[in-house]
């Protein structure tokens, strides 16, 4: 059972969230400066979800991620240098520059990749969970997916199989209210994606995705349940992305009102956690500031590493197609 959260875990949670925030803010700027090619889907605003889940996992627990995957990788232990190198398309990146933002992965950390296909993750996570059990380990799999992804047939088939086989997998729905530029009310006739859990014979839980401790507790219960062999859970985290669907300013569409954005930014998961930590005397504002500075330096070092890294050589083009 999930014990009462310790100060150590709270500080761990905080540090991971700050690492995501500063990495993403920096990546966004680098993209606008033309240093990062392709599409970049920033995780800013949703940090509490990845971190609240990931602090329960180790490198043998698998996760599948989404097109919005930097946060998941960082929370799972990803290193800035190899991450920036990948976003830059350098040979030193996590995927040797072949995957980029949408396919960044780290098998050694149990991170089965970001995925450019919406709904691509759940079936793969179900396979990883199946494999965990088949190989007689007690490890679990967590699959992150959005509210929009919950309308893909792949999610349905994966969830049904997980429920049927009682697999050790947690379906973490990051409901940020939109699939690209389409509001949830315009892509499904329900408010809680968790309502779908009953159709798969699994519990559905809704939690405030901006409250890291709430996510931590709910995720802990779902993961423990999975580890005990009692089957999957659909954990819906209500959250919000602070920037546009892709990039920072995106296409400059006005599909979200300023009030709505302001409301959610007022519930910044990092600000809320820092308030709590200082109130409880666990981390003072000054100490928090120090964490931000430390992480900022690490991020800058990562950028420098990427900047100085070589591009892949031509022979890399036809490597890694087959084992």
């Amino acid at each position: 059972m999930t014990a009462q959260i310790t100060n150590e875990t709270l500080l761990d949670l905080h540090r991971r969230m700050v690492r995501i925030r500063i990495f993403e803010e920096t990546a966004g700027k680098l993209m606008e400066d033309g240093k990062i090619p392709g599409a970049l889907h920033l995780y800013v605003g949703q940090e509490a979800v990845a971190c609240g889940v990931m602090v329960h996992l180790n490198n043998e627990d698998w996760i599948t991620s989404t097109h919005r995957g930097h946060g998941h990788l960082i929370a799972k232990g990803g290193e800035f240098d190899r991450m920036f190198a990948e976003l830059y398309g350098r040979a030193t990146g996590y995927c040797k520059g072949k995957g980029g933002s949408m396919h960044i992965c780290a098998m050694e950390l149990g991170m089965l990749g970001a995925n450019g296909i919406v709904g691509g993750g759940p079936p793969i996570a179900v396979g990883a969970a199946f494999s965990n059990r088949f190989r007689k380990t007690d490890r679990v799999a967590c699959t992150f997916f959005g509210d929009g992804a919950s309308n893909e047939g792949a999610f349905h088939e994966a969830a049904n199989m997980a429920g049927l086989y009682k697999l050790p997998v947690v379906f973490v729905c990051e409901n940020n209210g939109y699939g690209e530029y389409t509001a949830q009310a315009n892509h499904q006739a329900i408010v809680d994606v968790a309502d779908r859990a009953a159709g798969y014979g699994m519990p559905g839980v809704v939690v405030d995705g901006m409250d890291a401790v709430a996510v931590y507790e709910a995720a802990g219960q779902a993961i423990d349940r999975a580890r005990r062999g009692e089957g999957p859970t659909l954990l819906e985290c209500k959250t919000y992305r602070f920037y546009d669907h892709v990039g920072v300013r995106g296409m400059g569409l006005t599909y979200r009102t300023d009030d709505e954005v302001a409301y959610w930014k007022g519930r910044d998961p990092i600000v809320m956690l820092e308030q709590r930590l200082s109130d409880q005397g666990i981390l003072s504002k000054a100490e928090a500031k120090a964490v931000h500075e430390e992480v900022t330096n690490a991020v800058q070092a990562g950028v420098k590493f990427a900047d100085e890294s070589p591009m892949p050589t031509p022979d890399a083009l036809l490597e890694d197609v087959y084992a």
Binding site: G38, G97, H103, G116, G179, E180
Partner: protein, 332 residues
């Protein structure tokens, strides 16, 4: 086919798409547009911008992220009297709804003994070169060309984009309009009003006497560049844009080969199993005795599309590679 009474005007490829769809929505009461983020956002590439305001929410619909459901809706709506224009954001996503495409849309009319019409027009975005990596950069037209019941077009210019979309939407069969994301900004002449580019007819874009290049999609422009460079080598290349890949206008291509005796096929798709293979096979079937050299195919190498610009630039065929391959073929 009112090409005549239309007066010249320059538009980018992206606006030409809008223009073609607009003409159809004006012309066909039973036509509507449906797809992911096509209404409110006007598509992620903006080519439906303004249509929601112009035609209202009854003619253009945003959908959930459900490609099977979207394509299936198109099939059911078409079979029952509508003329859906279905948008598949990226061509890579035909894989999401291949059952609806291959087992329902392409076959329903035949399985039903001719008792159904499927006037579905599918607009989808293909092509590499935008650093979008392996799942957002593919050109999978050869899958579609292997499916009896479908038609497939690939517009290479703004003029063609509008004219082929109109022809596709007027056709009573399922037609896939394979667009190219890197071409969206390219501008060209686009007449006002409705005009058709006939399906199944190739376009001889550049006439030449001693070499033929068949180039589809964005590769047409690379082929035209290459043709200029080849001039310096006394190679006078005829450049043909098939425009429609299914049905394929082999006659125009074979006639050219009978004149030039040497031919190259260029496409962005993976070379192995790409439509270039079918075209090459048909050319040697039709013009064997006229060939002075093997038919050469230029396409992407046998790997997924890499993300890194350093690799992607090597991956996508270009004018230099066309010239190099031509020189080798011609022994220059």
């Amino acid at each position: 086919m009112a090409e005549a009474q239309a007066q010249p005007r320059k538009l980018p490829y992206v606006a030409a798409i809008t223009d073609g769809v607009r003409e159809i929505l004006k012309e066909q009461d039973n036509a509507f547009v449906i797809g992911e983020d096509v209404a409110g956002a006007g598509s992620v590439y903006g080519y439906y911008k303004g249509l929601l305001e112009e035609f209202g929410p009854e003619r253009i619909y945003d959908t959930p992220i459900s490609e099977e459901g979207i394509m299936g809706l198109g099939v059911g709506a078409a079979a029952t009297g509508c003329r859906p224009i279905v948008d598949l954001m990226f061509m890579d996503f035909i894989a999401e709804c291949m059952d609806e495409i291959a087992n329902q849309l392409a076959k329903m009319r035949y399985m039903f003994g001719g008792h159904a019409r499927l006037p579905v027009t599918v607009l989808t975005m293909a092509g590499a070169g935008a650093s979008l990596a392996a799942q957002h950069s593919q050109s999978l037209e050869s899958w579609l060309c292997h499916l009896p019941g479908l038609k497939v077009v690939m517009p290479t210019t703004p003029y063609d984009a509008k004219g082929l979309i109109i022809a596709a939407a007027r056709d009573d069969n399922p037609v896939f309009v394979v667009l190219n994301k890197v071409s969206l900004a390219m501008t060209g002449e686009v007449p006002e009003g409705a005009y058709e580019i006939p399906l199944g007819k190739a376009n001889v874009v550049r006439t030449g006497s001693n070499y033929t290049i068949v180039a589809s999609g964005r590769m047409l422009h690379e082929a035209l560049k290459a043709a200029e460079k080849l001039k310096e080598l006394d190679v006078d290349a005829e450049v043909i844009d098939p425009r429609t890949l299914q049905p394929f206008d082999i006659d125009t291509v074979a006639d050219s080969v009978r004149k030039t005796h040497r031919v190259m096929i260029v496409h962005e798709a993976v070379r192995t199993g790409g439509i270039g293979a079918e075209i090459a096979a048909q050319i040697q079937e039709q013009a064997f005795d006229y060939l002075d050299a093997p038919v050469v195919r230029v396409g992407a190498p046998f790997s997924p599309v890499p993300f890194s610009p350093a690799l992607e630039s090597l991956y996508v065929p270009n004018a230099d590679r066309i010239v190099a391959e031509a020189k080798q073929q011609l022994g220059l």
